[in-house]
Amino acid sequence: MHSLYEIETVVKRVARYQGLSWGIAEEAGKTVRALEQSALPGLERFDRLISFPYSKCVREINHKEKNQKYLCPIHFGLFFLDQSHKPDNQLTFQFSNILEPLLIIPFLIKAAQKNLISFDFKSNEFKFFIGSGKIISLDTNKIPHQSNDITLEISNQRIKQYSDETWDRLYNMSLETFVEENEEKKLLGAGAGLTDND
């Protein structure tokens, strides 16, 4: 399994390779890291997003336009992170379609906590509610007065949420942000000789 640092770095570089600015690439890296740390399949979903292909995703969010399709979840999440300080936020927004909605969650959590607001996300396939506190969302109608036959498992082991193939694909893509060096450049770039038997 890879460290969270490796996951964040690879996602940042892949996002950059996909044409995102460095600032957004950094946000993408943090988002996927946060999901993986929470045992959610952030890396797999990120891989699916860029395989859509990413060039077809809509990156400019227009919250007044109902029929926007194939919205990029990173830009969608950032839009609400950046814009939700505005006082006119007691609104309902509607969008036609968003890709890989899992990826918007870390952004909305930050936006909710920063601005003391809540997000109630409803779609045909997926619903969640994010408040400004630190408690995870529960279905309040189903909270019992007693629990029986309880199992509580505690682990300090992260659970791998992605396949080796996904990692290899993304890792190789991340190398596309690197510069190939010829022998001369290797020497110039680092600035010294190759052996040191002194």
Binding site: S3, S21, L78, D82, F178, G189, A190, G191, D196
Partner: protein, 551 residues
């Protein structure tokens, strides 16, 4: 008397940052202070007659344990390179969280010698490698095998038996993420684990020469004398890979610098100085003047700096020797040094001042870490006028730079595909500038500033961000610099006149490195822990070892 912190526009220039010296705040010294009451033990020394095999060193307190596992392998001379581009080393090291089982040792044996090409797990904390200083290693083993101690002239001209290259931590190559260990009390200072690894690796170098000498001549061999060993450190070769760190971690850089500046301010603000304190400073000054003679380098750049330092120290000694103690004595001394000596000498005097007042300086070493995540997000409700004013206040030095001029955008930073390390090249004659890393801070802030000037001042930043995200990474650091004014190097890191070793020197001085020996403008050798207590003496350390005479 109201004395103020030195201003960021004075401190954060690269020629000054590149003149910093080790001090009481340096990480290898704070590591020894923190761990001096831990137990250090050589647990395994499984080496063959040539010194190939593995060793384990264990550091323990209560129920906490860390282990350094060292692997020593055969290496042909033709394969010995102390640059990061190497693929084989004389020795490789991994710091393990706890005590490794035999199964762990076998797993590590298959991976640690490979370094970047191997995989480690979250049980491991740091990874490193080192090569012998061939001329010194052979001399020492040869003499010890003959029952004699080595020639200290040869030894101290180099200063170490092995040189490390990279020391990796924080999640690289599968190592444990920093989040796993950051709340441990003993690790509440930057690079504690890296410093532990290097300290234990130094002990390995002594055990290695003793072992090989004994194997060569069991009847005659003697052990390396403790006084000689103590004056040997461990070398390090550092290239450009280290430079981007201080640009990529602005909040952390601020903590390092502000701690030093707070220490200096507190000392300059002392109204009454005793004769004993003056004498203490004088004794450190005299020692360092002697020890500088061992700072060997072929670099014209560093030779010149060392020469200025020696001359300035002489000038300073004349001044200081005649100076009577008066109110705010250290402030008078510092102000004289700032005006009359170059940065190399002035910053050494700052480090020496800190030696006199451990009670002021040592607590500040606990303020040198920071949770960088707290500074990742920024306030998009701030007005564009606010952001422009912030740039004018904190980045006045770059607003007037003409980034259309070739010399001001001469270099670009990139990641080498071959070694996965940051490098720098000339953008006008080398390929790859389209894959430039976001390290052109001055240029990008300047561009952002010019762009923001076209937007209504009263609009919130969020309005600008709806359609403009190109400079998001830059906005993040501008807001960091607002809160943490020592977070930004105030020089253009892509200009033709950039001297990258200054960036390396800044970081290495905080590590506690000495004997800066640049091998080019982008690669430097240094020594760590020279004069430090040996592993078996660490609990006796009073943190004055940095200013003991080498010979």
């Amino acid at each position: 008397m109201q004395i103020e912190l030195r201003k960021p526009e004075f401190v954060m220039r690269l020629d000054r940052l590149g003149s910093f010296h080790q001090s009481k705040l340096s990480f290898l010294r704070s590591f020894i202070r923190e761990f001096k009451d831990w137990e250090f033990e050589t647990k395994e020394l499984e080496l063959d007659e040539n010194g190939f095999g593995h060793c384990v060193y264990v550091v323990t307190k209560d129920n906490k344990q860390y282990s350094l596992v060292c692997f020593s392998n055969e290496l042909a001379d033709s394969e010995r390179s102390d640059r990061v581009i190497a693929t084989k080393w004389d020795a490789s090291f991994v710091l393990f969280d706890g005590i490794p089982s035999d199964q762990d040792i076998n797993r590590l044996k298959a991976n640690v010698p490979l370094q970047e090409q191997g995989r480690v797990t979250e049980k491991e904390l740091c990874l490193s490698r080192a090569n012998k200083s061939v001329r010194v290693f052979e001399h020492v083993v040869d003499r010890l095998a003959q029952g004699k101690q080595p020639d200290t002239d040869i030894l101290y001209n180099v200063g170490y038996l092995y040189r490390t290259t990279a020391v990796y931590g924080s999640g690289k190559f599968g190592l444990a993420d920093r989040i796993k260990i950051q709340d441990r009390g003993e690790l509440k200072g930057p690079f504690r684990l890296e410093m532990m690894l290097v300290f234990l690796a130094r002990q390995f170098t002594f055990d290695m020469v003793n072992h090989v000498a004994h194997q060569r001549s069991p009847q005659n061999a003697v052990k390396l004398n403790d006084d000689i060993a103590r004056n040997l450190g461990i070398g390090n070769s550092t290239g450009l890979g280290m430079a981007p760190f201080i640009v990529n971690h602005p909040a952390l850089l601020n903590q390092w610098i502000i701690s030093k500046e707070k220490a200096l301010l507190a000392i300059r603000s002392i109204p009454n100085t005793s004769q004993r304190e003056k004498e203490k400073f004088q004794s450190y000054l005299s020692t360092i003047k002697e020890n500088i003679k061992f700072w060997k380098t072929d670099s014209e750049y560093q030779i010149k700096k060392n020469l200025h330092l020696t001359n300035d120290l002489e000038k300073f000694q004349n001044y200081f020797g005649k100076l009577d103690i008066e109110k705010f004595f250290w402030n008078t001394v510092y102000e004289w040094a700032e005006i009359n000596t170059q940065a190399e000498c002035c910053e050494l005097i700052v480090s020496l001042l800190m030696e006199v007042y451990p009670e002021i300086v040592e607590p500040l070493s606990y303020e040198m870490s920071i949770d960088e995540e707290d500074y990742f997000d920024f306030d998009t409700s701030r007005s564009i006028g606010d952001v422009c004013a912030l740039i004018e206040k904190r980045y006045a030095w770059l607003v007037e730079i003409d980034f259309e001029k070739k010399d001001n955008i001469y270099n670009f930073w990139y990641y080498s595909k071959n070694k996965q390390e940051p490098r720098m090249s000339d953008r006008f004659s080398e390929d790859g500038a389209e894959r430039e890393l976001p390290l052109a801070i001055a240029r990008d802030i300047n561009k952002l500033y010019l762009e923001l000037k076209n937007y209504p001042k009263k609009d919130p930043l969020s309005s600008y961000l709806i359609k403009n995200q190109e400079y998001r990474h830059i906005l993040r650091r501008i807001f960091i610099c607002e809160k943490l004014p020592y977070s930004e190097i105030q020089d253009n890191t892509i200009s033709k006149s950039l001297i990258p070793v200054d960036m390396l020197r800044l970081k290495l001085s905080f590590f506690g490195a000495t004997r800066f020996d640049p091998r080019s403008d982008r690669w430097v050798r240094i020594t760590m822990y020279q004069g430090a207590p040996l592993m078996k003496e660490i609990h006796q350390s009073d943190d004055t070892w940095s200013y003991k005479k080498i010979a």
